[in-house]
Every structure is written in C-alpha cells, then in structure tokens.
C-alpha cells in the first residue's frame, strides 16, 4: 500500500510539473518535453510480465520518442542538454515509483540501464543525422531511428540476466520485438518526416494502444500461468495432508529436480515438465482404492502410473505425465525405447524423490543418503544424475 502511495505521489508530482510548464510557457518546447518525461515515467511502471516472472517496462519505447524529439537536428546542439535533463529527471523519479516486479536487480539498476541505453541511442541518432549533414528525409530518418532502436533495445537486453534460450522461452523476444516496433512508430508519428506535419502526442498515444494491448495480453497469460502453478502446488500437498507422503516432500523434490535439471542443462520446457511431474508424482496415491491396500503401502510404480493416467487426460499437464510414465517404465525396466531426454528427466525425478525419502529434508543425512544411492545396482540410478545430485547438494 505504501508503495502504491509513493507511486501515485511521484506520478502526481510529474503531472503537476507538466501542467505548470504548460501554463508558464504555452507555446514553447518545454511543456512537450515535460510531457515526454511524464510518459517515460509512466512507461517505467507498465510493462510485459515474462514467463519467468521478470518484468520488461515499456520505457525503452518512450525513450525512443524523446531521442527523436531532441536529436532531430543532429548533435552537437542545445538539445543534448534538453535530452539529458528530461531523461535523468524521469529516471530519478522512476527510482522512487518503480513497481517491486521491476526491482529484481535493485531499484537503481533499471534506471542506469535506461540512461546508458538512452545516451547510446541519442548518440547513434545524432551521429547518423550529422553524417548526412542534418538531412531529415525519409531514408536518413529511418536509418537514424533504426540505429537508435538497436542501441536502446540492445543495451536493455544486456542489462538482463537472461540466457538467450530462456528469453525465447519466456516470451521476451516477442516483448522486445513489440517494444522496438512500437517505439519506432511512436517516434515517427510524434514528428513528421521531412516537411510533413506532425501528429505529436496524439500519434504517440495512438501507437501506444497496440503496445498496451500486447502487455495486457502478457499479463493475462501471466495470471493464468501463476494460477496454474498455485493449483499444482495446492494439489501437490494433498498426498501430504492425507498422510501418504511426508510434509514438504513434493516441494523439496521439485526444487531438487529443478536444480539437477539446470545442472544437466535440460531444455526449459522439459525442466518445467519435470517440475510439474515432481510436484504431482504422489497425487495418484489418493485415488488408489484403499479398500484393496488397507494398511499396506501401494506399489510406487502403481502410484506413478495412476498419477500419469490422471494427468495424461489434461491438456497441459499431459507432458508431465510423459515424464511420470517414463519413471514407471524405468521402475519396471522397460524404458529403453524412450527418447533420451525423457529418460533423463525421469531419472532426475527418481533420484530426487529417492534422495528425499532417504534424507527427509534433514541435511545431516545427506552423505549417508548419497552413499546408499551410489551403492544401489548400476542400472537403478543414472551415474550422471547422481554426480549432478552430489554437486547440487554440496
């Protein structure tokens, strides 16, 4: 709540500054620049939520508009200073107002990245315009704007912790493509090309609509994904509440399996399947009729198969069912025909689950547990997975 209040106050102050500027100097350039500063600040607050929970603000697109506004005539020029003042002020305010999702690497880091990107973009734009002797025709404009876009977006990408494969998987490439295209459109619409008339802030607002629609769609996807993850988590504790698994087993196995998968460099999608499978691998137990196995324990392979059967019918957990099926087949020694990555994922699940059964979350039992896994016959556990387990738990 406090956070929201700070955000409102910051945006309100910036809005007030725009109004004051417009009242003091209605025909000058200052109100327009102040409005752009406000737009940059607002664009820091809205953005794309990617699949891995990270946040991509819309600010780079707004920075492109500011670059085109101030660098139109090339550098060096008075506009250098105008650009500097607007972007620094907007980013300083953004430090206070930034939503928690954008602060994964600290409150200041995104502002530094944006300033670096902004300066690089401004320099790129101004240099291209200057190289063509201040030309402002179509081709020079497009060339200069492309250079600025590459600089701004490129530096923003460098400031992120992503590996390329993760960026593709989490929808980051789509987000950045939409940012780049919309940023160019808004910058082009704000000022006419050559001697053509300008649409000004109306153009910026109109071409912001598809970008906002895209970020809204990302938010929708994120909401469903989060709900799905929470539902899976809720279902994963059902066997524990039914006293069919130890408390925290599913969660620990999922974390451990994820860590081992990272170590073995499984693909992002297979890693997610593995985590779902790990969370739900005991769920089938609650559906096995206890009138048949009253008092005794159900066969682990039966449990895994029942879970797999339940999940196979669902739309998006069917992939997790594949991992569970592979685990059940391995238990019965019939997994030779499966694709290697599925087999590896099933192995990771088995190792993580058996390790947790042995340690029960107790760090003191680690060494003994790993020793007894190594002591099992060679065909039971994959040595690569055991090696990874040893490294991950060390």
């Amino acid at each position: 709540v406090t956070d929201r209040r700070v955000r409102l106050a910051t945006v309100g102050a910036a809005g007030l500054a725009v109004v004051v500027a417009a009242a003091a100097d209605p025909h000058g350039r200052i109100p327009g620049l102040a409005a752009l500063g406000l737009i940059i600040l607002l664009a820091e607050l809205v953005g794309f939520r990617l699949g891995d929970g990270s946040f991509v603000p819309l600010a780079p697109a707004a920075v492109l508009v500011l670059i085109r506004t101030t660098a139109l005539r090339g550098a060096p020029h008075n506009d250098d200073l105008r650009f500097l003042v607007v972007i620094v002020l907007a980013e300083l305010l953004a430090v206070a107002a930034r939503p928690p999702a954008a602060c994964a690497r600290g409150r200041w880091q995104p502002s530094f990245v944006r300033l670096a990107g902004g300066f690089a973009g401004f320099a790129a734009y101004a240099l291209v315009v200057r190289y063509f002797d201040g030309g402002a025709d179509r081709d020079v404009t497009l060339l200069a704007l492309s250079a600025a876009t590459i600089a701004v977006i490129g530096i923003d990408l460098l400031g992120r912790p992503h590996r390329w494969a993760d960026l593709v998987h989490s929808g980051g490439v789509r987000a950045y493509a939409a940012l780049a295209a919309s940023g160019m459109l808004m910058a082009l619409a704000a000022h006419g090309v050559g001697n053509s008339p300008a649409m000004g802030l109306l153009g910026v607002a109109l071409f912001a609509v598809p970008l906002l629609a895209a970020s809204y769609s990302f938010a929708q996807v994120d909401a469903v994904r989060r709900t799905t993850a929470q539902t899976i988590r809720a279902l994963s504790v059902v066997p524990e509440l039914a006293n069919l698994a130890t408390t925290g087993h599913a969660d620990r196995v999922a974390r451990l399996a994820g860590a081992i998968a990272d170590h073995l460099a499984l693909s992002p999608s297979e890693r997610i399947n593995l985590e779902h499978a790990a969370r739900l691998h005991h769920l089938g137990h609650v559906c096995i009729d206890d009138t048949d196995v009253r008092g005794g324990l159900a066969d682990p392979a039966d449990v895994t198969e029942t879970t797999a059967r339940m999940l196979r019918e669902t739309g998006h957990l069917a992939e997790a069912a594949r991992v569970l099926d592979a685990a059940a087949l391995h238990h019965r020694g019939k997994d030779a025909s499966l694709p290697p990555e599925t087999r590896l994922a099933a192995q990771v699940l088995k190792v993580a689950s058996d390790y947790d059964d042995l340690t029960d979350g107790d760090a003191a039992r680690q060494t003994a547990a790993i020793e007894s896994l190594y002591a099992a016959p060679g065909y039971v556990y994959d040595p690569r997975v055991l090696a990874a387990l040893e490294l991950v738990t060390a």
């Binding site: 179509r138 939409a178 459109l185 469903v224 504790v237 059902v238």
Partner: protein
C-alpha cells in the same frame, strides 16, 4: 423469425452484389488514381486479405479483427489528396472519388480462404459486396468531414468515429438479414449481440488513420512496423485463451478423479458449479466474479481427496471418529483453495461454517455454494438416500432460508432454475450405477447433513421410492 424460402435469401444476396458491383464501377470510373495511389491500394488490399485470418474469436463476445484499421488506413491515405496529381480546381473532388476506391481494401478483407476452398462462392460474393458498400459509405463520410488538404489531428479525431460508425452500421445492417434468414433467429437478437462492435471499431479506426498518415510519409515500410505489435498482442491473447481453457480442463479432470473416489457424487462438483453460476448470474455478478465463483464451486469438495475411500463410500452411518475424519475435508478444502491467490477470497465457500445464515456479509460466494451444494445434494442420489423431487428441494430451501441459507441466494436459485425450465430430481440421475442400492430417506445438506450431530434433524417428508 420463421424460415424464409431459400429463394428470398438468394434474391437478397444477388441484390446486394448488384448494388456493390454498380458502386465499384462508378468508383473506378470517377477516380483517376496515380501510380502511388494504386501501389497503396494494392499493398493494403493484400495485407487486408491476410489480416482477416488474424481475427480473434474469444470464447464469449465478438470477433476482434483488425480489418477496420486497414480500411481506415486506405481511406485516409487516398482521401488526403496527396496521391492525386495536384492540378485543376477539382482537386478535393478527385481525392473524394479516389477515397471511395479505398473500399476495395474492405472488399479484399471479405475474401476468406476457407470459402474459396469449399467453393462457397455465394458467401464470398456476399461478404466482399457488403464490405465494399460499407467501405464506400465510410469513405464518403470521411471525405466530407475531413476534406483533402486538412491537416489537423483534432479534426481527424472528430471525423474518425462517424466514419467507423457508418462502416459498422452498414456492415451489420446488411449482414443481419442474411444470418436471420439462414438461421431463423430473430434479427433483433442478432443486432443486440453485435452491439459492442460500435465501440470496438473506434480505436481500430483511429489507429488506422494514424497508420494511413504514416503510410503517406514513409510508404509500405510502415506495414511491418504496425503489424508486429498487433500480431504479437494477438498471438499472446490467443495463448492466454488457450491456457485458460487448458486450466479449466485440468481442474475438471482432477475433479473427475476425485469423483472416481466417491462413487455416489459423480457429476456433483460440475452441477454445483452450474447452480452456483445460475445464482451468480441471477444476482448480476461480473464475468470475473462469476468465473471465480464457478472455480470455487467446482473445487469446494477438493479436500475429500484426503479422506480414505472406505469412509467416503460407507453405506452405513459413520461413527463419531469416522465422522471427524470425513469432516476434516472441509478444512482441507479451505486450505487448498487458500493456496490459490484468485480463489483465496472465496476459500470459505468450501467450509461448512456457512451452512448457517447470520445476516448479510460482503462475501456472498460461500452462501451461494452452500445453497447450490444443498440443492444438488437433495436432487441427486447419495449413499444414504435416493434423490428428492425438485418441489421438495425448493420447499426445504425456502423453509431454511434465513436460518441456514441466505434468502437471496435461495430465491435466485429457484428463479434461475424455473426460468431455464431444467428438471432435476428422482428419475433424472438414472445413468448412475450403484453397487449398493441407496436408501430413500433423509434430506441432507452438503452431503453430510444428516450425519452432522450439531444440525437440527430436518422434518423428513415420506418419499416414494423410485419404481
């Protein structure tokens, strides 16, 4: 509306096609396009043919298609007068004539590949014709409100909406008779269904105008720039729809798995979700609140997963200890629903605490689920008694409204069921196969009612056993 003879439909379609062809001929004759104008028309028409394939059809609501945007871009580009060789006094007149050729872009959007593949040329001809006519009318309105040479963003804002509205009204006006004749549905209902289109077309028209404005300055290179964010928004929105459907599917499957455990409650969760939705609709809930209510109702018994099978399906009265074990499922349900953020506000729906009404509170959901649950428990066969007739269930609900049930929820459910004319009760759950023939007495509430020692024993009307 009753079915009209096929002949009428055919004459109507032919008439529209003839009018459109005449309009097209007139438009082509009066326009003197430059090469740049022809290029713009061609580019936008080609994009238009493919744009219709990117239309989104959300599960409920109207198709969202970027077609309006392209038509508007073409009209704006051609009506500006910049693509007319600037000679003579008839300049703005030429520009207006050229703008009407922008309707060819609209006609191109009427080309739908599946119609060609399935050789449904009548549909194809009708769609291109009606869209062409809508485009011509929109172009005329636009060049009247925004004559060639005008370069004022506020004036453009003022001109865009009447243009878009003209387009939408003619589009709907020409299409509704065909759909009404082909399906026999009343036209008024169809018109009501497409009402949101009038609001929806405005943002597309505005963006289309800005698109046309940039096109004039930069040429075809703006097409990919405009297309990329729109396509990304569309693709992501589609995947959110698919993910949501997959999520619901997953819940249903898991609930089914739960019901496998509890043989007497087959279909119970789904029915409670339906009744809860009835009540929510009757009380005027928003779509988001309805969705949440439906999920909560669907999952209200999820905690039963932790109850051992031999207790759930026990045909006899439970002992006190056994009852405590079974009763624990409510707490588990509440705990599990509480783990899901968007269901947390309605998590108490799964609790038995709301089987007692104590005045109005903010959250109606728990009471709604309680009423829906009790109604289904009474009108379906349980391990301890057979289904009761609907009238008995109503009476029971009404009798306990204000003490056990929320009166508004009871009224809403009864009204909704009566209005829909659906029947529940004995004889309607015959598809269930029972291993042990259930007894035929007891009213019960939430499936545990007549086991609960704390609840007052209900006056049980004698019920005829099913023949």
């Amino acid at each position: 509306m009753r079915h009209l003879p096929q002949r009428w439909l055919r004459s109507y379609v032919t008439a529209v096609a003839v009018v459109a062809a005449t309009a097209a001929l007139l438009a082509v004759r009066s326009a003197h396009p430059s090469r740049a104008a022809l290029g713009a028309l061609l580019v936008l028409a080609v994009v238009g043919v493919f744009a219709e394939r990117t239309a989104i059809e959300p599960p409920q609501g109207l198709t969202i298609s970027p077609g309006m945007m392209l038509t508007m871009a073409a009209i704006f580009t051609l009506a500006s007068g910049q693509l007319v060789p600037a000679h003579g006094v008839m300049w703005s007149h030429h520009a207006a004539a050229l703008a009407r050729c922008g309707a060819f872009v609209a006609a191109a959007e009427g080309i739908w590949f599946p119609h060609i593949r399935k050789r449904e040329f009548t549909k194809l001809a009708f769609n291109t014709s009606q869209m062409f006519l809508a485009g011509v009318a929109a172009a005329s309105v636009f060049s009247w409100l925004y004559p060639a040479g005008t370069q004022s963003p506020p004036r453009f804002l003022l001109a865009a909406w009447p243009t878009a509205l003209t387009y939408a009204v003619i589009n709907v006006g020409l299409t509704v008779p065909v759909v009404a004749m082909a399906t026999g549905r009343p036209p008024r209902e169809l018109v009501k269904e497409v009402r949101p289109v009038y609001l929806q077309c405005l943002p597309f028209a505005l963006i289309g105008g800005a698109f046309g404005w940039l096109y004039l300055q930069l040429g075809a290179i703006v097409v990919p720039l405009v297309a990329v964010p729109i396509l990304i928004a569309r693709q992501t929105f589609m995947s959110s729809i698919q993910l949501r459907a997959a999520y619901e599917e997953t819940l249903r499957i898991l609930v089914k798995a739960l019901e496998e455990k509890d043989r007497y409650t087959a279909g119970h969760a789904g029915r409670v979700a339906t009744y809860a939705q009835y009540i929510g609709e009757e009380l005027g809930f928003s779509a988001a609140r309805l969705a949440r209510l439906r999920y909560a109702a669907l999952m209200h018994d999820i905690g039963k997963l932790v109850v051992p099978n031999h207790l759930l399906n026990k045909p006899n009265r439970l002992t006190a200890e056994e009852f405590a074990v079974v009763r624990r499922h409510e707490d588990v349900s509440v705990e599990l629903l509480g783990m899901i953020d968007f269901l947390r506000p309605v998590a108490p729906s799964a609790s038995g605490d709301f089987s007692r009404y104590e005045g109005d509170t903010d959250a109606l959901e728990p009471y709604i689920v309680a009423v829906a649950d009790a109604y289904d428990a009474m009108t379906s066969t349980r391990s301890y008694r057979r289904a009761l007739p609907r009238a008995v269930a109503y009476e029971e609900l009404r009798a306990r409204a204000g003490t056990q049930f929320h009166p508004r929820c009871v009224d809403a459910l009864i009204a909704a069921i009566e209005r829909r004319g659906v029947a529940h009760g004995p004889g309607l759950d015959d598809d269930e196969v029972f291993v042990i023939p259930p007894p035929s007495l007891g009213t019960g509430s939430a499936g545990l009612g007549d086991l609960a020692p704390s609840l007052p024993v209900a006056p049980v009307p004698p019920i005829e056993a099913r023949p």
